[in-house]
């Protein structure tokens, strides 16, 4: 059995999500190739150094760099012949092209895999993580998206895979790139942060959200997250959202401040190692899953917490 892992990267760095997807692939096979598309000059070497990689395939074009699903899908389909499983990190980018690849190959997709049972049997969450479904595929080829938080990354060094360029298939694209608007942040990335400080609607304003959460996050070296309510109210940018429709995270420590704990939010963070809830409402559902709960107004609790951290 051979597995093709599609690399997630920003043009300069291979993301942790790729190393975690390789880990998922390792439970299936030792024949693992990694496809790096887009700006590959720095990242291909990093992928080649990852533990357990056989070959790194690279492909470059402007459309691949712009993350256009039509182009990526055509590329993956062109190399898919040699693989039994295609494993894609379940990021916004991966979720965009992976189903397109599966349909082009006329196979089903298994989304957000959290456990590999065997080469054709996989576990994934359904109903906002309130149930785990084990499915067995009868397709000859399998396309998976892999939930990174469910796997420990393989070592980033020690490997010495060969790097080979592959031809980019010629496709008459019907999509054109217009623009990008990146949120610039010096903080750790939400998806891979060890500690996350997350705020909800109770914070009341964008200024309060920043003013309360950022000093605490700085002290802890944490990433900042938000509930949907806080994002909808405009207190935090969209890509801060943790939950069923936002990011799924599993840090060592998740501190939920002024978050009630709706089903959709819990779907995104309930696999965190330790959950702390700070909320003035003792009946808030978040307390049912929190390891440590502090019933107190955040206005007094957060300064006290920041002080206690020294």
């Amino acid at each position: 059995m051979a597995v093709l892992v599609i690399a997630d990267h920003d043009g300069a760095h291979l993301r942790d999500t790729t190393l975690k997807t390789i880990a998922a692939a390792q439970t299936l096979s030792s024949d693992i190739d990694v496809l790096v598309y887009g700006e590959t000059s720095a990242v291909a070497a990093q992928a080649a150094a990852a533990e357990g990689v056989r070959t790194v395939l690279t492909a470059e074009s402007a459309e691949l760099k712009a993350d256009i699903a039509e182009a990526i899908s055509a590329l993956i389909v062109s190399v898919a012949g040699g693989y039994d499983v295609i494993a894609v990190p379940a990021t916004a980018s991966g979720k965009n092209f992976a189903p397109r690849v599966a349909a082009a190959l006329d196979v089903s997709i298994i989304s957000d895999v959290v456990e590999v049972v065997d080469g054709s049997t996989f576990v994934h969450p359904i109903y906002a993580g309130n149930a785990l479904e084990t499915v067995k595929t009868s397709d000859a080829k399998t396309v998976l998206t892999v939930r990174p938080t469910a796997f420990k990354p393989v070592a980033a060094t020690g490997g010495s895979a060969a790097v080979e360029a592959v031809a980019v298939p010629a496709v008459a694209l019907k999509t054109r790139f217009v623009s990008d608007e990146k949120v610039v942040s010096d903080r750790p990335e939400l998806g891979s942060a060890k500690v996350i400080v997350s705020g909800g609607r109770a914070l009341g304003s964008a200024d309060e959200f920043k003013g309360v959460l950022e000093p605490l996050a700085d002290k802890l070296g944490a990433a900042v997250g938000a509930s949907r309510a806080a994002v909808d109210a405009g207190y935090a940018p969209n890509d801060y959202q943790v939950g069923q429709t936002g990011k799924v995270v599993a840090p060592n420590l998740y501190i939920a401040i002024g978050i009630s704990g709706a089903i959709q939010h819990l779907a995104g963070m309930k696999d965190s190692k330790v959950i702390v809830a700070i909320n003035k409402d003792p009946e808030a559902p978040i307390f049912q899953i929190a390891d440590y709960g502090l019933v107190e107004d955040y206005k007094t609790a957060i300064p006290a917490l920041t002080k206690a951290l020294g």
Partner: protein
């Protein structure tokens, strides 16, 4: 131009689902069902495009049991012009749904398919992308802004780390994210009017599409439960606990 809007009947998002004790699935007997929230956003966007004069006809389509008719009536009450119910008792996988939608699109020849990014039951986030692959149309997923001009849809997408704007040549498939709009409530007069709007019921077999299941469900289980936590009285006590738990 004409828009096709696929809508799915799912468990109401406020209901906490229960896993059956025999692990065969989740218990959907006597629970409240509703239109998938992302599909409501798709219907709303289609209606807004019609109100702007960009769109002339909105066709809502649902695939599933007879009760999906109620979901289609909701779409009609929100402003869709007519509905198509492709009736089946089978619970189709995204690939099969995409194949049926391709056949419907073949009959209807829409300029745009606008649909939710994911259904909150299967959480697959796949059908729209699969449909665009099968039709060989461009796709713009996770849309938070849609503008149509000169045979192109300009779509702002929610991606990790920010926003991306793409131009896709019509016909295309667009899937909606939460931030695209705030869906309207259907007014009582519109609900009454919706009862008179045309709604065709078709059998799955009418489309002659291969919808055989590729996946078999081995079991459905409850996720591991978290052990009950403790309440602390102060920030100092919290920090002491976190230190002894080894996370600080």
């Amino acid at each position: 131009m004409k828009i096709l809007v696929p809508v799915k009947r799912v468990l109401d998002y406020n209901v906490k689902v229960r896993v059956k004790t025999d692990q065969s699935g989740v218990d959907l007997a006597n629970v409240k069902m509703a239109m998938n929230p992302f599909d409501e956003i798709a219907v709303e966007e289609a209606v807004r495009l019609k109100e702007k004069g960009v769109v002339t006809e909105i066709v809502a389509v649902s695939i599933g049991v007879a009760q999906c008719e109620a979901i289609l009536r909701t779409a009609l009450a929100m402003g869709a012009d007519r509905g198509i119910l492709v009736q089946t008792e089978d619970d189709l996988e995204p690939l099969a749904v995409a194949k049926v939608l391709k056949a419907v699109a073949g009959d209807e020849t829409p300029d745009l398919v606008l649909m939710g990014k994911q259904a909150i039951d299967g959480d697959n986030n796949a059908t729209g992308q699969m449909l665009s692959a099968l039709l060989d149309w461009p796709q713009a997923t996770f849309a938070s802004k849609v503008e149509i001009e000169g045979g192109e849809a300009r779509v702002t997408r929610e991606v990790d780390g920010g926003l991306q704007t793409l131009g896709v040549t019509l016909p295309a498939v667009i899937t909606t994210d939460l931030r695209l709009n705030e869906p309207r409530y259907a007014s009582l007069p519109n609900i009454m009017k919706a009862k008179k709007k045309p709604l065709d019921t078709k059998a799955l077999a009418d489309y002659g599409v291969d919808t055989a299941a590729r996946l078999s469900v081995v079991k459905v289980t409850e996720p591991p439960k978290r052990s009950a936590g403790i309440k602390v009285a102060s920030a100092d006590e919290l920090v002491a606990n976190l230190k002894s738990a080894g996370v600080l």
